[in-house]
């Protein structure tokens, strides 16, 4: 258990708003009896070390599994959830996967949230015929691999979604995308945004920042020099805040239109941005806004309140909760005799078609394909009065990048 200074304050705020009445949870078989059979081993990998904490998704998945285990498990068998930390280190990520898959013999990987793990282990998962139902993906390998399917959108879809909103609702004609100069992150996602702009007969360009660079000002100037009318920030939150601060210094808040991919949809962002950006910053949200409500949304908060009161309640948490939820649904629909058979479970996961939830705008599906990106519809919020306000509800993105994905959906009769 971590006792971080900020967690204390956050926890107090949480209990003040959510602690009025303990809402009822709904998990798995809902029998109210603890599962006591032979455990089903499931793995999860998150990255939590100096650059950032990506553990929200595995925390939420763990909470949901606990709730399932307290409610009859999978036909009486509890899920034993083994979580490893890759510490943002590719070697540790490979070691964690070897531990879970070779040593512990887990039957599936669920709820992963990491910056390095998916790229390192994509082939390992494929070779072992195991499916990873990830939740916090940031790199291209996560979405272009046959054995990984993520509930979140990642930078590409979210960036395209943000650009689409700016074009359709804010009249942007020329967007400059600010991304990280890491090939499978920045160029990949900003490149898809450029393709989207070209496909609409508009102009798009990219400015790539080396994450080691202390100087964000030059990137800002480069972006301005490109002649863009809109600047789309596609950076991790810390770097994005630094970038916005440089823009504020130059007084660019009103001279340009501003948008961002999901990383800025974080509770501490409005305060960190300051009142200057009130009403000026449009942010694409990968899953639904936290306060949107709905049966799954209330269940998510109820499960966290009961089983992981200290866990963060953010987008990655929603995503981890959903991955776990869909996984349990899949197991319950399976032949109980095959619950220890890794290939049978992988086949069942690949057979998921048309699951829905009010935490997601579109349907969730997997299917047999060399790439998976079920989640490509989102919401747009604007920074307002120290919080966020929804300005466009669920809409589906449209970009040449999604053509093979739409084809898969047509084959699965989802389109």
């Amino acid at each position: 258990m971590k006792t971080k200074l900020t967690a204390i304050g956050l926890g107090l705020a949480m209990s003040a708003t959510a602690g009025i009445a303990q809402a009822a949870t709904s998990c798995g078989m809902n029998s109210g009896e603890a599962a006591t059979g032979k455990p089903i081993l499931v793995g999860g990998i998150h990255g939590n070390a100096a650059p950032g904490d990506f553990s929200a998704s595995t925390q939420a998945a763990a909470a949901y599994f606990k709730c399932v285990n307290a409610n009859g498990g999978i036909n009486g068998r509890p899920i034993e959830y083994l979580v490893e930390n890759d510490q943002w280190n590719p070697e540790l990520a490979a070691q964690a996967a070897a531990k879970l898959i070779d040593d512990k013999k887990v039957v599936a990987i669920v709820g992963n949230g990491s910056f390095v793990e998916m790229a390192v282990n994509a082939n390992f998962y494929k070779d072992n015929d195991i499916m990873a139902m990830a939740s916090g993906c940031a790199v291209s390998e996560c979405f272009e691999s046959p054995s990984i399917v993520s509930t979140n959108q990642g930078p590409l879809a979210s960036t395209v979604g943000a650009a689409q909103y700016m074009v359709e609702d804010q009249g942007s004609k020329n967007i400059s995308c600010i991304g990280l100069a890491i090939p499978n992150v920045g160029p990949w996602s900003c490149g898809a945004m450029e393709d989207y702009m070209t496909s609409k007969g508009l102009t798009g360009s990219s400015v790539l920042l080396n994450p080691a660079s202390p100087d964000v000002n030059s990137g800002l100037l480069e972006s301005v020099a490109s002649g863009a009318d809109t600047i789309l920030v596609n950076l991790p939150a810390g770097l994005a805040i630094a970038f916005m601060k440089a823009a504020e210094e130059q007084g660019f808040g009103d001279a340009y239109k501003w948008a961002s991919s999901t990383p800025l949809y974080d509770r501490t962002v409005p305060a960190a941005l300051g009142s200057y950006w009130d009403g000026k910053m449009f942010i694409n949200v990968e899953l639904t806004p936290w306060d949107k409500g709905g049966p799954d949304a209330s269940n998510w908060l109820a499960v966290l309140d009961q089983y992981a009161p200290d866990a963060p309640r953010d987008t990655f948490s929603q995503s981890g909760f959903l991955s776990a939820n869909f996984f349990v649904k899949t197991l319950l629909a399976m032949d109980p005799a095959k619950l220890d058979d890794r290939s049978a479970i992988s086949a069942a996961i690949r057979g998921i078609v048309g699951y829905t939830s009010d935490l997601m705008c579109g349907p969730y599906y997997v299917g047999e394909a060399d790439r998976h990106m079920p989640n490509h519809a989102g919401t747009v919020v604007v920074v307002k009065n120290g919080g966020f306000e929804t300005v466009r509800d669920c809409y589906e993105y449209d970009s040449p990048y999604f053509a093979p994905i739409f084809a898969n959906e047509a084959a699965l009769k989802l389109r």
Partner: protein, 317 residues
Amino acid sequence: MREFAVALVICLGGIAALALFLGMGKPVAVIGLFLVSGLAVGSLYALGGIGLVVLYRATGVLNLSAGAIGAASVMSAWQLVEWQLPAPIAWLAGLLLGLVLSLGFGRMVAPHLAWREPVVKAVATLGFALVLLGLVSFLWSDDPRRFSLPTDRSSIPILGLRVTLTRLLVVAVAIGLVVAISQLLLHTRIGLQMRALANNRRISSMIGVPILRVETIAWGVSGVIFGFTGLMFGNLVRLEPNVITFLVIPCIAAAICGRLQSLPLVLLGGLAMGVVESLLTLSDTFKAVRPMAPYVIAILVLLMMNRGRLLTFQGGD
């Protein structure tokens, strides 16, 4: 003085040539923007480099934990502001923490390493840096944060770029420190003792230079400089301990430009690095790798410094 003049001419000439080459066909105003923008980052490199050199001259320790000390300072200052303490008190507390951390290491740990070679002393400070970085990242989770100063709000336009008072403050403090410390070294007794120590430790101790006192002062002064650098990094670059900790490496590059000795050259080197890094944004080939500029410049300076030298002799550092 002559050396500084030569270096200044080389720097100005090099930067002008680079600006002309990269800026060909681009409006002059754009080049001006990048020039001014680079000076701000460069002064941060210089500031860190000055702290490193002050300490190295007096104690022979190249402090790799400078960035970590700065990170601890700015994070605690941020926390105190969050806890509604008056801002000036929070900033002072941040600087004080820098002082305490640096002094603590200097008095408790460094004496055990006194007789080891400089590289081992430097490497040992990495251990301290890891301890501080670990503690700071444990105490403050990775939420996005921002460390503001009242000087952020007002700005003046220079060559078309709005420059905030904070950025001007950094440049002013860097120049002020160079002037003040140089005067101190020249005209006070403690300065004389510091110069003696920098020249030859063994002889200095024999003629009665109070080594402990001089070293303590150097650890303290450099700690405050690291703390201040950390506050400025947190304000102007990013409030992320992990980033601030490892910014010590470009600061070392700035220190190398001054041969770990001359403060005016450190200042010049740091500024040149910042400007070159910023100007490289104009080049499509190099913009993805422009943070390499400080390292390339430092290597060139080292090579130039040693040109004509063929042999190295024991103790000929």
